[in-house]
Amino acid sequence: MKLTEDETAIATGRKGEGAAIALRLVAESGRLLGAQSLVPVASAHIDGCLYHGDSGTEFAEFLVAKGARVTVPATLNVGALDLLRPGNVRLAGGRRDMALRLMRAYEALGCRSTWTCAPYQAGHRPEAGSDVAWGESNAVAFCNSVLGARTNRYGDFLDIACAIAGRAPCYGLHIAANRRATVRVDTSSLSDALKAREAFWPVLGAWLGRTVGENIAVIEGLAVHATEDRMKAMGAAAASTGAVALFHIAGVTPEAPTAEAILADRFVTVALTADDVRESRALLSTASGDEVDAVAVGSPHFSLDEILALETLLAGRRAQVPIYLNTSRHVLGKVEREGRLAGLTQSGVVPIVDTCVVATPIMPAAGGVLMTNSGKFAFYAPGNTGYAVQFGSLADCVESAVAGRLVRDEAGWQ
């Protein structure tokens, strides 16, 4: 690891103790990862602001006390509280205070109060080819894959350290040669009707994560079906079941005008079959029977388009179970300004901003069965909330919420 003169001076305190701690963390992590140098970053997305015990709060306040400030634009991922509707979160006494102190400490470090896991749909879209330091696994996958900016999977703490230092270790996906695909995914045996289903995409992502782990795939045969929200859902699922930080979709994502353009010299080809899709879909559900006690959508946080789709599917009907709509304050503000929020809440939609139902206690503690169209929620909800999960499309989720029991369209998956 070779630091520049400037970096060495920062590491030894020229810009204060906070900057020195951050630079040491970045440099030391980089050394462990085999980086030879640091690379300046254009922006950061910070995932350390979700409360998981007092240690995170103590570290953030330690940085504040040492005078640290971010030196590049930095957005914040979800916290443990809904700051706009505090009553949504059941977090109790001391923990609530520490969760709030954590969020305030990250603001004090100079980060923007975006509080979303989809910063790329709240105005933070780095340019293709730029180096950035992002945390939050779905955001990392989206940033690399869909935007073509370059980041590794920076964990909590390293993300804020990079934002303060303005630099990241130069290794992994910051280097063009490491962004080439070593797995070619052939989807030619799947029907267009299947690929056109919204629920196919998180299922594909969950399969991809399990199949490739941390490897980079280029997927062929999806060019006419890929949309931003579908790739968002896919990447979030892939980054949950695997360590996927980058995927390419031939003809769609910026580094893959064709599969050949991004394939490494050596690669393996994997054929995705209808059986694989069915198996991956089945693995997303853990519940049996037709019980549904709540519906949750919006992991990653729902976009305006996704909320409009929810509104259309509800068509003014009243749900029998709560529909937790997890989104950013940025997007919900637009919904509110367009005068659409009242109709949604009258239908039984419970808007949640700044956090989400799987990150913090929001749903009744009694537990039960949660239905979701999110591969990421389906993956994490059982461990984080104690709820069993039923996975379905957004339309399945809405019909189930209205009926108060599981309603799922099985046609087209067989």
Binding site: I21, R24, L25, E28, S29, L32, L33, G34, D47, G48, L50, H52, G53, D54, S55, G56, E58, F59, F62, G135, E136, S137, V140, N152, R153, Y154, G155, D156, F157, L158, D159, P169, G209, G213, E214, A239, S240, T241, G242, A243, L283, T286, V358, F379, Y380, P382, G383, N384
Partner: protein, 128 residues
């Protein structure tokens, strides 16, 4: 075998039989594996020589490990099958905060699958 974070340790080996994200997979309050889809759900990572052949999942795993370190519920050591910054960063932060953190080794050739005790002394893993 490479030392990613220095230290000596001894404990019962726990080899993860399937990939596990600490966030959403390990309780930061108890150190127990909580991912119901994981074959070792209910096992506790605290005090174990935790072998992680394939680090995966959420980037918040650093925070879960840091909290386990602060509360004294961390693994005795972590042995990674491939380099991954997410867990090691928690140890680096703990050092800045003055909290004792477990050693982390990189051992891509580790082939054990069972239990038994292991020791790590001077960056060398002794496991029979």
């Amino acid at each position: 075998m490479t030392t990613l974070f220095p230290g000596d340790a001894e404990g019962e080996v726990l080899v993860l039989a399937a990939p596990l994200s600490f966030w959403g997979g390990v309780s930061w309050e108890t150190g127990a594996i909580t991912n119901v889809r994981h074959p070792q759900v209910g096992e506790v990572v605290t005090g174990r020589i935790l072998v992680v052949p394939e680090p995966v999942g959420s980037s918040s795993s650093s925070a879960v490990l840091l909290e386990l370190i602060r509360s004294g519920r961390a693994p005795a050591a972590i042995v990674l099958g491939r380099p991954d910054a997410i867990l090691v960063v928690a140890c680096l932060v703990a050092r800045e905060m003055g909290w004792p953190a477990p050693p982390v080794l990189l051992a891509p050739d580790f082939r054990g699958t069972g239990s038994g005790r292991a020791r790590i002394v001077g960056g060398v893993l002794d496991y029979r």
